[in-house]
Symmetry: C2
Subunit: 318 residues, 2 copies
């Protein structure tokens, strides 16, 4: 017999980092946390639903990682330092192997980012994983979507599009052979938390790329009351993506989702500074366009303006 309390004790009681600012963690009606006086609180939540965000049978270790990573990515886009997570799991049944794998995947990433699991909820239901993540940012220093100015450079971290192709492999639409790296990009997204911290003093606006670079740049531009010109030839395409997708690689980079890279706007004069810091942060950032005054996104490729219809993944597009 396993009760909810026993399951929590077995799998979740000591997940993630131990933090001295957790005054009271799992086991009471709510968690008690100490927020430093000079910091603002940053709160986000994201959900993974079986059949929507992952396939039945997906590796639980990867799900534990992803459920946290997609929230870490939101905090990265705000320039925040992650601190405390709550985990709400709807499970169809008790499956010890699944729980062990999930907890291990969550734990490894939480420890890597010094995140404590401070509470949560376990209930029976169709498999769904909701993580709430709280972080901290010095007062007034958070990155937002709406700070971009006309003329600012638009940049993206890493190599967008890889995860979208990895997802196609996971969906059985492509052979896995030769695409192991792209699958890993989908299964184990790396939230750009360190980069987000560096961007606090460089970027004018920032967003995490979860629904596709084109759609998310469009959001950043609109929030900043701007439009944008993007140079398709400047998109940073990975060798693995080019090998797997050939001439369609740029379409994955623009339209694919699940990247969890950062897209940001930056005054031109910060370009040299970014180059130095991005190397330090371990992730390449590439200039791919500029904010402009006219609304909408214009794509340039080989000297011509081109059309691109994919507008990003939306859970309620009908």
């Amino acid at each position: 017999m396993s009760t909810e309390a026993q399951l929590i004790e077995r799998y979740f009681l000591s997940l993630g980092a131990a933090r001295t600012d957790v005054a009271l963690g799992i086991g009471d009606d709510a968690a008690l946390l100490d927020v430093p006086a000079d910091q603002q609180l940053v709160l986000t939540t994201d959900t993974l639903v079986e059949g929507r965000h992952f396939l039945p049978g997906a590796a639980p270790h990867s799900l534990g990682h992803r459920a946290l990573a997609v929230n870490l990515s939101d905090l990265a886009a705000m320039g925040a330092t992650p601190a405390w997570a709550l985990l709400s799991l709807n499970l169809p049944a008790i499956d010890d192997a699944w729980l062990r794998g999930f907890a291990a995947g969550f734990d490894a990433l939480a420890r890597a980012h010094q995140v404590a699991l401070a509470g949560g909820n376990l209930t029976r239901g169709p498999l769904s994983i909701t993580v709430q993540l709280a972080g901290l940012v010095p007062r007034g220093c958070a990155l937002r979507r709406d700070g971009g100015r006309v003329g600012d450079l638009l940049c993206v971290s890493g190599t967008p599009g890889d995860a979208a192709l990895g997802l196609e492999v996971r969906l059985g639409r492509r052979p896995a052979a030769g695409s192991e790296e792209l699958c890993r990009r989908f299964d184990y997204p790396e939230a750009r938390v360190q980069l987000g911290l560096q961007l606090r003093s460089l970027a004018s606006a920032c967003i995490d790329v979860s629904d596709g670079l084109y759609a998310d740049i469009a959001r950043l531009a609109a929030a900043s009351s701007c439009g944008a010109v993007l140079q398709v030839d400047d998109l940073p395409l990975s060798v693995a993506l080019c090998a797997a997708a050939g001439d369609a690689a740029w379409r994955y980079a623009l339209g694919g989702g699940e990247d969890y890279e950062l897209a940001f706007a930056m005054p031109v004069e910060q370009r040299a500074e970014l180059a130095g810091r991005a190397v330090a942060g371990g992730v390449r950032c590439t200039v791919i366009g500029r904010l402009r005054a006219a609304a909408g996104i214009e794509l340039h490729r080989a000297g011509s303006v081109i059309q691109f219809s994919h507008s990003g993944f939306d859970h309620f597009e009908v």
Copy 2:
């Protein structure tokens, strides 16, 4: 056509109270919130799953209320003032009437408690509602489960058991006629937030009664390294419950769930003080027993020790 962004704008953008401490609300990657320097942050989350916590076809207005109320109750048990909520909705399809009703139920309760909806998530999936609620409590003043001492009085607010019988009506196991008030107690639980604030200076330990008074008192006692003696004859039974359940009324009061009342321990010398304040808070509190040194819960009824097997609702009891 409705996108996730359009649905959020239509139904959720201005839910709840407007608060000046929301530096950035819905519409960015995360919310930015100002925590006063003398306060601790209190975080909780709770989920309602269709078929588990409510029946298919349940009134959406009631669900919007309940999803927030069950979280407010957790903060009440900590003696915290609620402040900011995140809402994660898994919806099988877009149903405007449902969304309108749900949003209205959530909104009314949020405004009543000065809670701002600061963010959230909408995705397709089997109907499931997760609310994360953040509140504030003066540093070091939070109520906990583990502060009870041998000899402390045990008390409960309101009239436990009503909601459990209301649930039986909702499940079709009892006729609704004559039980409208009990159904209302299930559909629209009142979180005891004001009482929780008053208890900060009176109670030694506190817990919210969600899984049944017996089970939750047992948790409070165990967390406080105590056992308890409960006087069944002292249970505060509502007229409506006695009318509907007759001789079994006390069993509902002890074993039913979904009460969202507060159970608490209190030094004997605070009894007069409680009587005065509880009247001010608008909810009656009743002494129903004492913490004792010996582990376990002993039930007294009509001068005898009796047995009670129901140990509370557990989502993973198998």
